[in-house]
Amino acid sequence: MGKPVAMTGNIAVANAMRQINPDVCAAYPITPSTEVMQQFASFVADGKVDTELVTAESEHSAMSACIGAAAAGGRVMTATSANGLALMWEMLYIASGNRLPIVMTVVNRALSAPINIHGDHSDGMGARDSGWIQIYSENAQEAYDNLIQAVVIGQHRDVRLPVMVGMDGFIISHSIENLELLSDQEVKDFIGEYLPLYPLLNIKQPVTYGPLDLQDYYSEHKRQQAEAMKLAKPVILKVAQDFAALSGRKYGFFETYRLDDAEMAILTLGSSAGTARFVIDRAREQGVKVGLIKLRVFRPFPMKELQAALGHLKALAVMDRCDSFGAAGGPVFSEVRSALYDLSPHPAVVNYIYGLGGRDLGIAHIEQVIRDLQEIRQTGCIRELLTYLTVRE
């Protein structure tokens, strides 16, 4: 087991990248992810990695360069946030459509306008249909661990998909926490040698990337992507198992806390899980049977597994750090509630949209959620399907 070190989420992730030693990183700075590439650029300058660092003129170009390098046959990584991710938009689909296992840290941040640089999930959630695997992290340790696992997941021959690993802007990216790093050799052995599938640089077998794909074959290629997402599920669990053997830290599609005997639960992803755990402990002392489920993998969405984990509940509060304006609710809510529809009986499910633009989610807010759940549990009625928490009336 490694010795504990104190680092911000960004520096932890930059160290994961140093240990992964990718062939190419192309990036453009944006708060709050800038520090990842800034620190990594120091590693490049100091000769700590062999990476070709491409400082592109925009995030669109950064992702384009990543795609080119990955098609050429390289192991490729980058990092971005918010509007940077938005500017990569078109290229995200090209990375996944070309089946290039690029790994990207997304330091989750609110999208403008109005301009705001703080943490919420609007950026990542907006990219949920882009064909990337999405993993969300609660703290710096998870951001580090998830990034290393992401490399192995994405490059797996059954998967071959790009992976984005999220962590909450500032709350995780800029807070110093204790974590354990693996040794450089352990990371090197864990990720293994990268074997590209159809490298452009293999002149003995010339290939074409990105040819026109019309009515005759486009549907078949999209069907393959859907299959890769399905096959990613066992791979994610296998990689987590191997990672636990190496590090002692266990991961799955989600993590549960005091859920087995719970009648009510809160589902969240990212950093707010810590606060939720604290409030749940206090409620448990009062005899309130409430638990927590922290979703780690949002794509592929673990529908069957959530059904099994949540089916026994009477009431569930799904917390979204992002709105989907005009939709049935936040993006996590819509999918979780849909997953539970098949169960009979199924828990009453309500949605809370919280923490937009970095607004703090406090203890009192989660206490309110638990009070609401208790009321639903007692009366069997839902008063508000969707509540905007942490907003002034």
Partner: protein
Amino acid sequence: MSTNELKGWKEIPIGGVIVEAGNSARYETGGWRTFRPLMDGQLCKNCLFCWIYCPDSAIEVEDGKVKGINLRYCKGCGICARECPAKAIQMIEEAKVSAGE
């Protein structure tokens, strides 16, 4: 490509990647044509500019001499006619060709 040759999603390489070099020969672009190049062998000096410029490799050459234009691939873009220094190629509307004018 006729429909009976189309493969299922399990049988094709992922990512829309073409893994077989030179398979564009199986993709006939001649059906796109609205103008057809007509070459005047008398004027042609065999400079092979048309052969170099043709984006679909439709100009057929044998022993350093232009043999003709393969209409299965010629998409009628007119580049050959424009680049020919001897003005040996003229673009004729397909409709007129088929009407026998």
